[in-house]
Amino acid sequence: MLLEVRDLHVEFHTRDGVAKAVNGVSYGVDAGETLAVLGESGSGKSVTAQAVMGILDIPPGRITGGEVVFQGRDLLRLKEDERRRVRGAGMAMIFQDALSSLNPVLSVGDQLGEMFTVHRGMSRKDARAKAVELMDRVRIPAARERVKQYPHQFSGGMRQRIMIAMALALEPALIIADEPTTALDVTVQAQVMELLAELQREYRMGLILITHDLGVVADVADRIAVMYAGRIVESAPVHDIYKAPAHPYTRGLLESIPRLDQKGQELYAIKGLPPNLMSIPPGCAFHPRCPLARDVCRTDEPPLYEVSPTRGSACHFWRECMDD
């Protein structure tokens, strides 16, 4: 396993109380594999990724338990300077909003080149040549001319390509992409996802794709982990989960999206709202919104039951969820 997150816990201490953002998350990614982490806002999907990457704001954040084992080492035990060497060279991250993640007063060539001058000790001239090469690789037309331009001179799709180029620069073993195409138009989204998938195959990288979009997941993922209120509620190979979801939350999400291939009647809607992380409901966190909830759900937190050797569901009644 390239990366293994084990029983990770993250809290945020605020004036109003303690928000339990991540409550015992475990997942793993192999080289060449794509794991999609699916969840809505507040599910803990991005916080988990930030903890893995080592870019969590501490304080107010605090990692209260767990391990992040990457290439055999627990990253949470490393010193900050060792950690910095892993970032960039070992794993890299792509963010949703390329415009605010790029420095507006540096040319894209300087920003790409920085990866090589800082991490590899290259001269500025060599780093510039590397930047052009990377821009070619992510198929930015006229790379030699555009390397001198600034982020605002690029379109949204091109900026996201620059982010991808920057993540790829040191050929990391793992890429974490946090909603990489959410801000893009659908035709551009298709271009960027295809590019990312192709580069991943070429370099045999592990990819963690964080998203709320069940369509994007179906397009690219090998495995999927569904998060709700800071926990993984279902984990499965991608084909299984769409065929027969084993958790009422996953099922509710799938039922509630309108179809492109036919006009439906009224949509199924999950009732209520996601919980407040300062007061997560006891028992199963999803029980107030669940159509299958019974007494036991209000008191006993479900473990991740084994549905099959490759699948898990944190629902006491997963069989019922899959059956009817």
Binding site: G215, E255, P258, E266, G272, L273
Partner: protein, 363 residues
Amino acid sequence: MTEPILEVSGLVKHYPLTRGVVFRKQVGAVRAVDGVDFRLGRGETLGIVGESGCGKSTVAKMLVNLERPTAGSIRYKGEDITRLSGRALKAVRRNIQMVFQDPYTSLNPRMTVGDIIGEPYDIHPEVAPKGDRRRRVRELLDVVGLNPEYINRYPHQFSGGQRQRIGIARGLALRPEVIVADEPVSALDVSVQAQVINLMDRLQSEFELAYVFIAHDLSIVRHISDRVGVMYLGRIVETGTDTEIYEHPTHPYTQALLSAVPVPDPEAREHRERIILSGDVPSPTNIPSGCRFRTRCWKAQERCAREVPALAVPAWFEAAGGPAAHDSACHFAEEKHVVPAEGHRDGPRGHGDGPWGHGGGPG
């Protein structure tokens, strides 16, 4: 179509680009909307889809008179509202209301929910006498699925989905006949989107509303719309019923757009033909000659640079009839099926009366 309540023709909005401070002279224009025509029937939903910068939000703003068109007309029950002013304009505005995209910035944080929803009555006091307003606001809260007791709360005390309900209640306050909704669910989480869409569906039949529903999400637009218009760079390039557009698209842009939508079915990724467009949308300050889509079109020929294709039923389809015979602004319109069937979603799921039946309570 039923009798049109709204008829838009030749609608244009250009924003001038100027140079110089003292002697300002116009050096060009952003052609945000560049000739749009459509009709909206009573109680009907027209969906408008397109990518960012295509002009769909500018159309919305002109419909509710937040922007004055550069040219063209918007007829409400036969009367051109772009020429109205003063009292006559105010009377028409009552009947065309708007729901905005972002429920966080479109509600005043310093006003209570009761004041927000009741504010339209300050401008149109003839709709509700002063003593009756609180009762009406409570009723509206109930109609959109919020507890009427919440009347004295402030927007920050509500979630995104609840705030969008407040925005909808405000839109309904004056009992309009037309609601223009600009991306009303795109800021919401997936599990909350369905609640708001169902609410809009229900309100439509309850109050006989006509919707202009503007969105970039093609699945949601199909779900809610009777007819759909696809916009590209300031123009509608194809329009028809939902079946005509989704099952029998004939314009290359519509085909590319539909083929790029990720569908929640992993089976689809193997047998699906994707049309990946090259390049980006051209700038609206510098629109290509002839067909504006030609710079990204795989079918473009010399004729496309010379002649602007009209939005009409292509002659070769008109003769044959059938669902391919709908308006499409392409010299070389051809039918192409691009939406994959989501087979695994057929069967009992989503159709039963069990726990997974339709509906689900409001939030």
